[in-house]
């Protein structure tokens, strides 16, 4: 009796499991059917938009937005490259856009549908990663610099050399991001932020190994809490983090060293297989409207490439020379280029730096 009951319930469970499996597959297969509704799928960095903007867009245009987030360019690339996920809008960084253009993954934009593109500052158009400006519209930009604690560092920092100053042994945070940390070493050795050959990388490697004993730790997101807690005297950070830290602790100061820095862009693109290209272009147009761009900047703290939006910001934000550096500083900054296969050399060098202890 007991056994039969058990068996019966087993078959019941198995049946339910099978039913569920079939229905999940069924749903996936039927997923395309909803297409005739106007819905665009957007794939953006985590915490990188004002959520109200999406509602406003839906209200104004009647186009629904399905919104997904990624945490690194590489995550996004692997997901999009493997296919199956049909996004209409993606917002990756410069070097990744260059790679995607090379691999023919992006659609050419129809700028007739994006009149607000005229709002974008001309100096941010047609940059090296998209030289003809056919595929991308800049969304946010920023730099890399040093944030330092004025109570622990006596003299103002002006140079990348500060990160190699013996005085601050075990009080320096570096970025746990091979391209940024190696880039700074390259710059200091007189090269550009993009290594041209293995020799330059080897020289940068020696420089970073020399710095190893001074570095307290290689961090990314932890840097916010650690700098606010006074864990270290200085840190290599992206400008958004730098701005956030200076806004939250008056003892912290963000600088872009005088040698010049890396300037990066996150730009809006449409993948080649996007099902709703026209609606996606309407979305890009919407994001380029000054009042909308202003909302996004206020939410996330990075710099907008739209001057009319910058004008709408509070004076202490829009006039901050470190958040919105002047043209002559920008002129000294370089954009990251896609290193292609060379990327694995960066990885090897970085591993050697890490393993050098």
């Amino acid at each position: 009796m007991e056994v039969r009951k058990l068996q019966k319930s087993f078959w019941k469970k198995l049946g339910i499991t099978l039913l569920l499996t079939v229905s999940v597959f069924g749903l996936v297969a039927c997923g395309d059917k909803k297409d005739d509704q106007k819905t665009i799928s957007v794939y953006n960095w985590g915490l990188y938009i004002d959520p109200n903007v999406l509602d406003m867009f839906e209200e104004e245009t009647g186009i629904k937005v399905q919104y997904d987030e990624f945490s690194t360019n590489e995550d996004m690339y692997i997901k999009v490259k493997s296919g199956g996920s049909k996004y209409d809008i993606i917002i990756p960084s410069d070097y990744m856009i260059e790679k995607m253009i090379k691999e023919d993954m992006l659609a050419e934009l129809n700028f007739d549908n994006i009149p607000n593109y005229a709002n974008v500052d001309d100096q941010f158009k047609n940059l090296a990663y998209d030289p003809d400006g056919k595929y991308s519209v800049p969304y946010m930009w920023g730099t890399v610099g040093i944030v330092y604690n004025k109570t622990m560092v006596e003299e103002p920092i002006t140079s990348w050399n500060a990160l190699w100053d013996e005085k601050y042994k075990k009080q320096i945070f570096m970025l746990d991001s091979p391209r940024d940390s190696i880039g700074v070493a390259l710059k200091l050795m007189g090269y550009g932020f993009n290594a041209e050959n293995t020799e330059q990388l080897e020289i940068a490697k020696e420089k970073l190994i020399e710095q190893r004993p001074l570095v307290l730790s290689y961090v990314v997101d932890e840097v916010r809490d650690a700098m606010l807690a006074g864990e270290a005297a200085m840190a290599l950070v992206w400008s958004g983090e730098g701005m956030y830290l200076t806004w939250n602790d008056e003892n912290l100061e963000y600088v872009i060293p005088e040698e010049g820095s890396n300037i990066w862009f996150d730009s809006i693109v449409i993948p080649k297989d996007a099902p709703h290209k026209e609606e996606a272009e309407a979305f890009i147009n919407f994001l380029c409207r000054p009042d909308i761009a202003k909302l996004n900047v206020e939410e996330i703290g990075y710099a907008t490439p739209i001057p009319a939006a910058q004008e709408l910001l509070a004076p202490e934000i829009k006039d901050d020379p470190m958040g919105y550096p002047s043209a002559d500083i920008i002129a000294k900054c370089e954009v990251f280029r896609d290193p292609g296969e060379f990327l694995s050399e960066y990885d090897r060098v970085w591993t050697e730096v890490k393993a050098s202890k």
Partner: protein, 275 residues
Amino acid sequence: MKKKWFSYPYLLWMLLFTVIPMALILYYSLTDTVNGETVFTLANFQKFFQPVYLKVLWHSLVLAFYCTVGCLLIGYPMAAILANQHFVKKKFLIMLIMLPTWMNILLRTYAWMTILERNGVLNSFLGFFGIEPMQFLYTEGAVIMGMIYNFLPFMVLPIYSVLVKMDKSLIEAAEDLGANRIQIFRKVTFPLSAPGVISGIVMVFMPAVSTFVISRLLGGGQFALIGNLIEQQFLWVGDWNFGSALSIVMMVLILLSMAVLNRYDKDKEAGGSLW
């Protein structure tokens, strides 16, 4: 006959989630994409045998070894004490050991960061006694400590489950025959608990050698361990072939170490071993 039917869903499960992924990893590790074409090659394994990657592997093994020894030294007495408690108390204490493992490993590790940092709990505590703040976080010691903390239950539980089933009359017999406590431990208790110790060692060593979260957070990304290297290949470089080769090397190493341990595990009946 019916018995066979029962196993089919499990077979399907294993095929889908064990056999096929393993085959994929093996395939990736033995191939490379050259000019858009996939070719079979051993280059990925060859790449691994460069000094820098061997150094990374060696460092991972050393850290995992320290962690395992630490867990054994702390875990064995803990398990022995637990096994000798009254039933109700025992259940409660086991619960206390298990409880932290219900919490996410990231959260537990972040908590240690708060304790160990320069202006953290530990340094403030030492400050009361006039001791200057020391650098605990971002050191090798912090990584090993984090590993021991996270993996200790995996050592305690298998040893405990063997000790608690042990026949107490054997110890009484040894006492009757005039053995002192050290002799009893060396000749009776420890050999009988060996299967638990071995599965404890395996269960601690394996996650310890491949961890990347703990070394990233508590070591501050200063220590390139094999787990970090694999993560880097997949998420940053996008070199799935080399990443797969690294994973295969790891798996072979773990298999080998288990085989070695297995030789010392004579009492297979006790069911403590994974082999």
